[in-house]
Symmetry: none
Subunit: 209 residues, 4 copies
């Protein structure tokens, strides 16, 4: 129980300050425990940091695994939607990953190997199925896959800035739903051929709220 409280607090602080900027005492305060208690569970700050990342990346891996088995027209859309929902429920995750990437942290290779590479392969592989009929150059596929990372993870990472610019809260249900709708609509716009015939092809202007 204490371990979970520590992990949650650490995630919060690491997502805001990064590994170097985070302070054990701040994490301890956020967790409501003494700073020394943290060392009962984790032998050092970097190890705690790794545990936090681990706890964030593992579900992503699992999320991805679900979509590896079945393939189909709407698979990509479902993956995108599920990812965004997952991220909306864990607002710190995107920030952690972006911070780690920007800071060129030592966990970066792990992040690439276990999460981004599978994600890209999975998505690009998916997309390449329809590549023959696609109007897109195959060399753009990595960039496209990357774009979807930005449109899902980046949206949440930049939330503080968006909050400053727009009136509303980017993490609110309404906003998240809108972003989800936008990304899926964008996908369909880019790959019209992937939308199965049987399925009604929704207009980007469809509103669910």
């Amino acid at each position: 129980m204490t371990r979970q409280r520590i992990l949650a607090a650490a995630e919060l602080v690491f997502a805001r300050r990064g590994l170097q900027g985070a302070r054990i005492r701040e994490i301890a305060e956020a967790a409501g425990v003494n700073a020394a208690t943290i060392y009962t569970y984790y032998r050092s700050k970097p190890l705690l940091y790794e545990a936090v990342l681990e706890r964030g990346v593992l579900p992503l891996q699992e999320l991805l695994a679900k979509f590896t088995a079945s393939r189909g027209a709407s698979e990509a859309e479902q993956l995108l939607g599920a990812t965004i929902e997952h991220l909306a429920a864990r607002p710190q995750l995107s920030r952690l990953i972006y911070l780690e990437a920007i800071s060129e942290g030592s966990y970066l290779p792990e992040l690439a190997r276990r999460w981004l590479r599978p994600l890209l392969e999975r998505t690009v592989g998916e997309l390449e199925i329809g590549s023959e009929s696609s109007q897109w150059d195959a060399s753009l596929f990595p960039l496209m896959a990357t774009a979807f990372v930005h449109l899902s993870f980046g949206y949440f990472a930049l939330a503080p800035l968006l909050r400053e610019v727009f009136a509303g809260d980017p993490l609110s249900e309404e906003w998240v739903a809108r972003q989800k709708r936008f990304v899926i609509a964008l996908t369909r716009q880019m790959f019209p051929e992937m939308s199965g015939e049987g399925e009604r092809r929704p207009s980007p202007s469809d509103r669910s709220d």
Copy 2:
């Protein structure tokens, strides 16, 4: 001269560690001066940080200003292209901005006021010209504008991660050109009505290299 060396070194370190994580001594070493020398020019680390951000944001403001006067079909494309080229020449800028946003730094309001807000207004305003005929819901415009931030700034901010995943260097001329081409193609895909008749509408598969 020393001041410029300090600013350049500080940009490098701040872009990697953030305000809190950056160490003055590391900046000093990178600048090839004694740590005390930094204080001859900047009275504190936060003030140095502000100066670095200032030096990064001002050109963005000016870049934006150039495109405010004339409007037209290909204006948005030009702005996007120019932005990406600008960022490619200053690889730390995107990281600085993303770090500041993720860390909810105190410079965030300034960033919103002087850069993101004008950018969005400018782009959304541009897009709204064609909104009548557009297939996009007006409520998605902010998200679309934000998406272009991700596709330009985010690309460079995540460069270390991409470098880890792909074989090549995301900051290389070839890669940057490809990203530029991709983003512009995406724009045309999304707003076909904005491409003027006189202009040949290029296929996204066009290659310049």
Copy 3:
């Protein structure tokens, strides 16, 4: 316990160097603790300084309070004697107060309010009882009161200089007793009318050693 050791060491160093000149590391060494430990108890050097002064001034206040109730001929003498004995037991206190005064420290108003002002009022009030018959101009009373501060506190503050000039140790019992005798004799010399009839009027040359 550690707190007391720190306070004692700090008193020693502050009395020698003042607030600005004192070095935390020197205090720590004198206290036999790590410099960081000091910050476990006091959040900053000025706050430690205040605590040291507080610990010095409070007993002075209490000493003064004892003599506020009863009044009489020999009260002043007793106060003087008690003060000198108190100071002899706390050799740093006078130096602290003099340093604070000379340096125009921020604790000065507190010092005036809680110690010197009551002392003067108390003494001057006492003296004024006999003012009718006194040969002293009333306008000199403040100066006289101040003189007694010099003759008690100043004696201890200047101890290092006296040690340099005379052979002996100004803080030795013998010297302190002699100073006490001198000050009291001086008082009687100045206010012969205050010495009660019943009491034998001792000659200044009386020796107790």
Copy 4:
């Protein structure tokens, strides 16, 4: 000229902060010169400090010398009066000497040898002339001499504290004159036999203002 400005500024700052607490840059600012300029005249902070003390002690030595030749009843009074006037014109001198004494500075022996020792010998010697008829124990002579140091130098050293307690300014002409009158009256009170017959013996209540 610059040298004098530096000395004056240094005196001001040293009198407030002591050797350790004083900062070269503060002295430089007070003198209106660049900090480096100070090093054109003095090779180090301690040497500047010595020069300041030297400049303060030398006139005291000379003042003392004037009174060494002639002896007489009113000599002591004149010395006291002259000293107080001298100090009133150099408000920092007393503070410098007291700080040096309290801090047990390295200049202390010099101070004792050149100023305090001669002063005491001179005064005590003077007093001992009348010791036969005096009511004072000879062993108290050093203390008495010291007392006069307090009553002259101490008065000015504690000026900031007195200013805090009393309404007026202890350095004002009126206050200084009063203190002078008080000290002289006290002397006469203590040594009535020293006041020559021919001279009218003034009452302590005499007022000059």
